[in-house]
Structures are given as C-alpha cells and as structure tokens.
Symmetry: D2
Subunit: 315 residues, 4 copies
C-alpha cells in the first residue's frame, strides 16, 4: 500500500462519514466543550514508513478527555509497576456506563478496569510523583514529539468546578482504601490530564508508538515498555469505546480509545496509528462521524484483527 | 515452525501446567459432571498444514457446555441472519457472572452478549428449525468431521432436571418478548446443545476452521461464512472466558471460549485451532490447568494478537 | 360516631375522590382485567358494631390479586408455623417494584417480604397441604362468611398463560432452594389465589377481622391467631401498598393491601375493616380513586395511627 | 399503670436484656466511638404524667448519630416547608444498608427516605439558615430542655476526617442537582449534627414530645408542628431501624430511631417517650441490648400499635 493510496483512502473515509446525517451532539456537561464545531472532522494516520497522512480538521486542538486514561495507565505502569497498579484496578470489561459507580458498592471495591472513570481515578492515585501532572505532561510531550503540548486551562477549571460525579467516585474509592492519596489532589490531576490539548496528529503519533510495540517510529526510541503497550492495546480492545466497545470490536476491530472531546485514538499492530477528531457524539460518548470513518478504514484497509489473509510465520 | 517443534511445545505446556498445584474443582452442579477426572489434561492443535498435534487426554469425551454457545450463535446467524439474531442479543461484554440475570431487569431486556447464558438462550430461541437440536448436531458433525458426535444423554437429563436458574432466565426473556418460542422447548434445545460430547481434538478442529476464516482446513470446504467467523472470534475475545475474559485477553490474547465441562476452544488467526481439556475449574468456571497451558503456548509461540513482530502487508 | 355519620362520610369520600380526574389505567397485562369499568368505585366499611356501611360499586366481583398475599401468609403461618415461614421470607420493606427479582441475585436468596411477588411465591410454596388452593378457598369462605367465594377461571387461565415474570421468580427461588416444592404446582396455586373473585364487602369483612385481633366481629369466632393478625397488619403498614407504602403510611396511616384488580383492603385497629374497589390504577399499581377515598376517610375519621387525641389506658 | 410499676418494669427490662450474651460490637469506624463501654445499658421513659423513669447508664453522654436525622428532618420541615423538603427526598423504605448509594444511580436521583444517609444529607442541604448547626443546636436545646447540649468536638472531627462514603453520597447528590448548596458546608453540618452529645434522658424527652403530638409534656409548649410530628413518627416506623425496620415493627411495633452511638429513641403515641443507650451494636447498626429492652417493654406494656384491646372513641 503506497502513500498515494492512504491519502485517497482518508479523503474517501471523510466523504463516507459526512454522507451520514450528523445525529450526535457535542458534549455539554461543561460549557467549554459546548463551543466545539459540531461539523468538524479530521483524520490522521501516522504510518510505520515515518509518514503522516491527514485530511480535514487535523490542526484543531481539543482535550484528550478519556483518551488520557491510556497514557496515565502506561505512566503508572512505568512508574510503580504492574503489581501495584493491578492491586488498585482490574482488567475486566463492564457493561456499565463510563461514570457508573454502582459496582464499587455491589460487586467489588476495586474498579473493573482502567478505562472507566473509577478505574482511571484509582490509577491516577498511584502515580508515584509529587507532581503527577508535570510528569504526565512531560510524558505526553515525548509521545507526541511536541514540546508545546499543554493544559487547556479553561476546560480544566470547568471540569474541576463541575466534576461532582467524579468526586463521588473518588471518595467512594477513598472510603474503601483503594485511593490512598489525598482525594482532591488526585482529582486535580485527573481533571488536568483529561484537559490536555491535542490534535488528531498528536493522537495518531501516540497510536503509532503503541502499534510499533512502544517504540517511536520517528526516532526509534523506546518510549513504552513492550509489555505495557500490549496491556494498553488489549484494554483498548475490550474497554476502549465505553459501553460500545463490543460493537466496535466487531465492526472495526482495532484497539481504540475515545474521549468526549471528540477524539478517537487507534493503533493497527505493526503498521500505524490512526486518530479521528469529530466532536459530535452518540449517546455512549463516541464520535458519530469518527465511528463511520473507522468503519470505512477498517473495511478498505482490512484492518480488523480477524479480517483474514494475513499468513503468519508459524507454519 | 515445524511439526517436531509443536509436539515438543505441547508436551512442555502440559508439564508447565501440571507443575502448578491443581487448586480447582470439578463442576458439581450436576452429578454427571462430578465424575470427571480432576487431574486429566489434554492439549490439541489442529494446524493449517492439515496436521493434528496432541498430547495427554485428547480422546476423553466431555460435554461442550458453554463452548456450544459459539456454535449455536454461528448456526443462528447462518439460519436466520444477522439482523434477526442481533435484535435478540447484543455484543457487549459484561462484568457479570455467566448466569446473572440482574441486568435483564435493571439495564435492558436484551441480553448483553451471546456468551452469557441469557444471551445464548435468546439465540437458541431464534434458530429457525422445527428440530433445532438435529440441526445443531448435524452442524457439529460437519465441523468436527465426525459422524458419531452425539448427545451425552445423562448429562442432558441432569441439566434439564436441575437447570432452575436457566429456567428463570428463559422466563424472564419470555416475559419481555425476547424469547418468542415455547420456553421449555427452547430450554430443552439449550440443555441438549450444552450436553454434546466432544474431545479436545474435535474442539481444535472447530477452532482451526474459525482461524481459517470459516473454511475447513482439511477439506477446503467453507463451513462458516467469513463474516460470522469474524463475529464469533471477536465475541470470544471480549466475552469468551466468562468474567475472566479481560485478564485472559492480556495474558494469552487469542479468541477462546471455555465451558464448565473443562474444555477451552481457541483459534489463532490464519494458523491453528487449539483446544485444551482440563476439568478442574477456577472460581470463574475456567479450566485451571487449561489457562496455564494457554499462557505457556501464547508466550512460547508468540500467539498474542499484540505480541509484535508480525509485519503485515500494508506498507 | 353513629351509623348515619358513616353512611354520609362514605358518600362524601366517593364524591371527593371522583372530583379528581381519573388519570389511572385499568390493569392490562392480561385481557380479562382490561374489561373492568375504569370509572367504577365502591367503598365499604365493616364496623365493630356488626354493621356494614357501603356505597357505590360494592357488589362488583373483582379478583383479589396481591390482596391474596395477606390471606396466604396467614394461612401459611397457621398451617406450618412462624419458624418455617420466616425461613423462606423476610419481613423487611424494599424500595423495589412488586415484581422485581434483582435482589434475589444481588442481596439474598430469601425474598425481602411476603407482600412482593417473590415473597408471596415463597410463602405459597410452604403451605402444608396436598391441595393448597382448596384450603385457601375454604379459609377465604370462612373469612368472608360466604360459601360461594370462588375462582375466576378466566382470569386464572389468563394469569397462568402470561405469568412469565412470576415463573422467572419462582425458578430463581427454586434454583436457590427457597422453593422446595414443584415449581409449576406452586405457581398454579399462586395464580389461583390471585384470581379469587371478591367484592368490596368481602374485603371489608376480612379487614374487620384483622382489626378485631383475628376474631370475626359478626360471629365472635377466632379465625386468625392474634399474633398472626399482628404480623399481617404490620406488614401491610410497611409493605402493603407496593413501592408507594411509605407515602401511604404518611398520608393515610392504616394497614392496607392493594391489588391490581383494583381493590384495597384496610383495617383500623379495634374499629373497622375498610375496602375500596376502583380498578383504575396509578403507575405503582394502586387504585387512583381508592387512594383518594382513603385519604379522605383518614382525615375525616382521624384514622391515622399517629393522628393524636387517643388517650390510652397506660397512665 | 402507676409510677412504681414503670420503675420495676424498666429494671426488669434491663435484667432481661443483660441475660442475653453481649454479642455485638461497639462502632469502630472512628476512634472516638471505640472508647464506649460495651456493657453500658441505660433505659429512660419520659411519661405524659411529667415524670421521668430511668435506670442504668442514663447520665452517660453519647453522640446522636443517625437519631439526629429525625430532628434535622423536623427542623427542615419547620424551616422551609413540606414541599421543598419532599422535592429533595422521598418517604419510601428501602431494603438497603443506611449508607448505600446504589439506588441514586440505578433508580432515582432523589434519595428514598430521610432516615438513610443519602436522604439525611439531602435534607441537611435545604435547612434555610446561614448557620444551620447553630439552629440545630438551639432546636435540640429546646427539645431537651437543657441549655448545655453541645457538640462532641472529637467525634465531629473524627467523622469529618473519615467520612469518605458520606462525601461520595453528597457529591453524587450534587452531581444530580439534589444538593444545591456547597457540598463541604452541608457535610460539615451533617457531621456536626451526628456528633451532638445527648443522654438517654434527653432522647426520652424528645420521644415524649413526638408522642404528645409535638407539644412538650413538661412545659405545654408546642415545639413541633402536629403534622411534622406525624411525618417523623411514620418514617420512624417504616425506616427508623436501618434495614432491620421491618422486623422491629413486628417485634416491638413503636416508632423508633437508632444511631450507631448506641442510642434508640422511641415514642408511644399519647403516652411516653422511651430511650435506650447500649453501644454494643448488631450487624445492622442497632443496639443489641437496646432491642432486647424494647422487646421486653413492648410485651410487658402492650405497646405495639396492633397489640389490641385499645378501644377507640369511634363507635
């Protein structure tokens, strides 16, 4: 597959998606997010040939929101190790909404996985650093190869002011000893990491590192331990698209993580990172057009893990 | 990888697993299952080179139990089509136990996926045939290439006599119109399909067909539509190992379905089907030694979907 | 308070209730119930002076539905004793709908109280008789002083044909050993007891027996053990009006049990039994106009247990 | 019944209770409560003849804990009115533990009743005063006729430091707009009201005011509106003894509210207030010996609302 093709495929994907009525809604739980352009759509692929393919709104800054959960999980694993992290969070998918806390009372005090809010807050509480957000930001800058990655202060303040359900979750975790640090400081970090500004290009780069076993395809530098890349990708498969993860696994079939800022970050093993930006969301919190773009790309490029015809080296 | 290697690897896997204390318990909810040999262990690989590699208790007959859910799903899809099937069951993983019915009341009347009992019973209710079990058995015989696949009558009668929770689930589905057929007839089929006798070799063969995009590796005959094979495999990834599916996806990382009869059926895309038989189960209902065997195989043979180093054809 | 007054009070109560728009709906889950006259309303008081006061549709036959749960509980207590009954059902109110079964899985296998379906089915399963329904009918005839109390065959058959959720509950109870008898036989009794035809006069008589410590006010015969009358009345306070019991306890404040046939059976300690028939139901399953009648009577006659001004004998 | 009798009855009640093994445990979730004397037991009756009968540890100070919920509910009703209060909390019993928050997510955002923590926090949030605790304290002093009622500062600070689950509940309420005030300020008031020091005599006095329709039996002054006294008493019946309320209603049958400080406050309509202090608690949070005392008193003095033989004035 050559470069020319990918440029065309991306453009076709955008056209395909935009042919669908934009039935979604921009996230509105905080005023800052409401200002996003409902009809924006950007698609970027960072390929193992060290090229970036993109079309549409790929320079628009938007906040990572839940996509930051992948990065914070990896940061936690690299900081305090697997044993500590998985004493605070499990790795099982749930059929619940991302911000549910019911199971913490009825099933287990340990959140089911790091991709739901409860799990991500538990993970936020173990990152071993006096200044977890500085560390997060430094890590993000290396992953994106861009020193000017920074906080969207207005979104952060908005999240912090209105994040009552997340506070409820955090205090619930604290009441059971899952969260051992100061709750408000942990939440402050959580709200900050969700409010980091990125572009589709940034997310495609992170995706390409995950696809490349943790090694930056542009610099050759290992930024993520191989095992932690595998863990992150597997969790993206089973839990990355909120309570639409199962359907996405069938229809698209690549590790992906979406955020209510409108982004979806994906990786195609050994090949490329893909990111979509489309802030109009469906009821589950996933980008409406973003899903369409990814369905198109998966079909066109045979990206599904079980798309067949990829003879491996075993026999 | 040559045949000699696979024979050795399988033997090593058995040795590796048996080094772990057999902490599990044979399923005991019906008397028939209690008679299984707790220390039995068999491993079989059906490879795309048309060879069968096996070691241990690979001739022992055991009942499919939940593994039949994969076959009945495919049969339903091939019989009444995707639209009808997915009007009765969703494809989202749950964090609940396999026999839970709570969500049918609190979340949605449609079962979350076909790998939990509620979902499998809903699927059993749509198979379009006067004699669904005859059809199931015929399909199983083709998949396994063995005309003498048959029902374990004693297990079936035992299941039927004691399956109160499954009856509760079925009537719950009927009360909401998800199950439209006669409840007792549907349950009768469900209990029968769970009670079909197979060996590890049989399951490895079915796994190899799934791995081979639905085409029988021995005959070249397409037995499963490509799309339905993909759906089945994806559901095995997200929901195949009960509420241990998430951990299995990280530790092993291949589509798999387990049953409380002690079997686990797996498939490695484009390469082979794998089956393990080990009737000693952990608290979630998965074979204790079976899990160890699969962890070993995954590591040794680099089977995990995200194990890296499998350059595809794209770039 | 003299007879003349009660006649007037009842008429005023009906007028008061009918001034409210009939916003409810006749029960429709089985065809037979749908035929009830939405605008019917009957009120009857059976007083300790051995007089019956009544107005409106007091001769209309309707099925007891959930009101039968009070009678079957008393029958069970008198048949097998307190210890056996309360090994199968608790006495705690729930905030759940009458036909919920979620708690049987999440909290405890023992139903929370005998006034919800799960609890009533558990109670139905312990009545010690080869022919529980004959026994129930005989008991009803004595309570109502009327030999021609009988089954509404069409409602019974309708309930039996459509009672899928109750079947789900019963099999759930059987799966945990709470229900030890044959499930279908127990359900058959349960559907029959719900389908017994009564009038408002019948229910007022039963209410007056409960109010009179278990002794028939007309014959002086003890029909209910004093302790069991107390238990029944207390459960009617905490759980008698479905998930509207708490509000009813504040607004009316007398032991009461409603049924989706449109009846409400009440008792005012030491004074009288009250029954209302009004088949138009609110969302919780309680008679819309029946509630208004009882609010009126409670206020006019100062019936609330905590209405004040009833100096007792203690000091 | 004369005074001599009540003195003897109380002593017998204590003897009866202490004959039971003290199987309970002193509340331990905060260090301050752990210091209580597990074997303390005090019983006090404030009768309508303006006499106080008491025996045992009736001068010991202990914190009100959940008993304060009755007082704060009345204060809220008297401050902002019924409509406002019941827009924030319902009056239905639940079968859940006092500190559960599951239903806020699964059923309704409005807490089910004011006697569970969620409901009491919602009520705390509507008391219309800049200084709600000053107002609460002033009200308590009038109810108890004792100017030196005051806060147990150490318990308060302990509650405040450790009340994570209550914080989770409060933020959950805030996230749904049920709690409109500042969460931490509302919680501060909630922790303070729970930490007010009282004796059994104080609680018996409050109970006697409720029993006397809201009028202080010693001064003749109305301290509680008649309707609000009725509401409080009814809620004490259906929800006052945590998830043991249903059993208590059968076994004892008087309005009662318990607290994990070891107190139980009761009222017998038109007759007297009763309070028990016994800090050894059962699994539901009710005083073990306190329950025994009240069972004895109910039986000996025929206190159950449905104990019979109390001919009223109607006929």
């Amino acid at each position: 597959m050559d470069k020319a093709n990918l440029d065309i495929v991306i453009k076709n994907a955008i056209e395909y998606a935009k042919a669908y009525e934009n039935t979604g809604m921009v996230a509105s739980y905080i005023p800052e997010l409401k200002n996003a352009d409902k009809n924006a759509l950007g698609v970027c692929i960072a390929a193992n040939n060290k090229k970036i393919y993109k079309a549409g709104d790929c320079e628009t800054l938007f906040t990572m929101q839940s996509i930051s959960k992948v990065v914070s999980l990896i940061l936690a694993l690299q900081t305090v190790g697997k044993e500590k992290v998985f004493s605070k969070v499990w790795v099982e998918p749930t059929g619940d909404a991302f911000n549910s806390l019911v199971r913490l009372e009825t099933h287990t005090h340990i959140p089911l996985n790091p991709m739901i809010n409860a799990g991500a807050i538990a993970v936020a509480g173990v990152i071993d650093a006096e200044f977890p957000f500085s560390r997060f930001l430094a890590f993000m800058r290396r992953l994106c190869g861009r020193e000017d990655i920074c906080l969207n202060e207005r979104v952060y303040l908005s999240e912090k002011a209105s994040g009552m359900k997340n506070r409820a979750i955090a205090y619930m975790l604290a009441s059971e000893g899952v969260l051992e640090r100061d709750v408000e400081q942990t939440l402050d970090f959580y709200f900050k990491m969700c409010s980091v500004n990125v572009t589709a290009v940034d997310l495609a780069r992170i995706g390409s590192i995950l696809a490349n076993d943790g090694v930056d395809i542009f610099t050759g530098e290992r930024l993520i331990e191989s095992e932690y890349a595998l863990i992150a990708k597997t969790l993206m498969v089973t839990c990355g698209m909120y309570d639409g993860s199962g359907e996405f696994a069938i229809k698209v079939g690549i590790p992906a993580k979406s955020g209510v800022g409108g982004g979806i970050m994906c990786c195609v093993e050994d090949n490329f990172g893909i990111a979509v930006y489309g802030p109009s969301l469906d009821a589950k919190g996933n980008s409406v057009w973003g899903l369409k773009v990814l369905e198109y790309l998966s079909k066109e490029l045979k990206l599904h893990y079980f798309a067949g015809s990829k003879i491996r080296e075993y026999i």
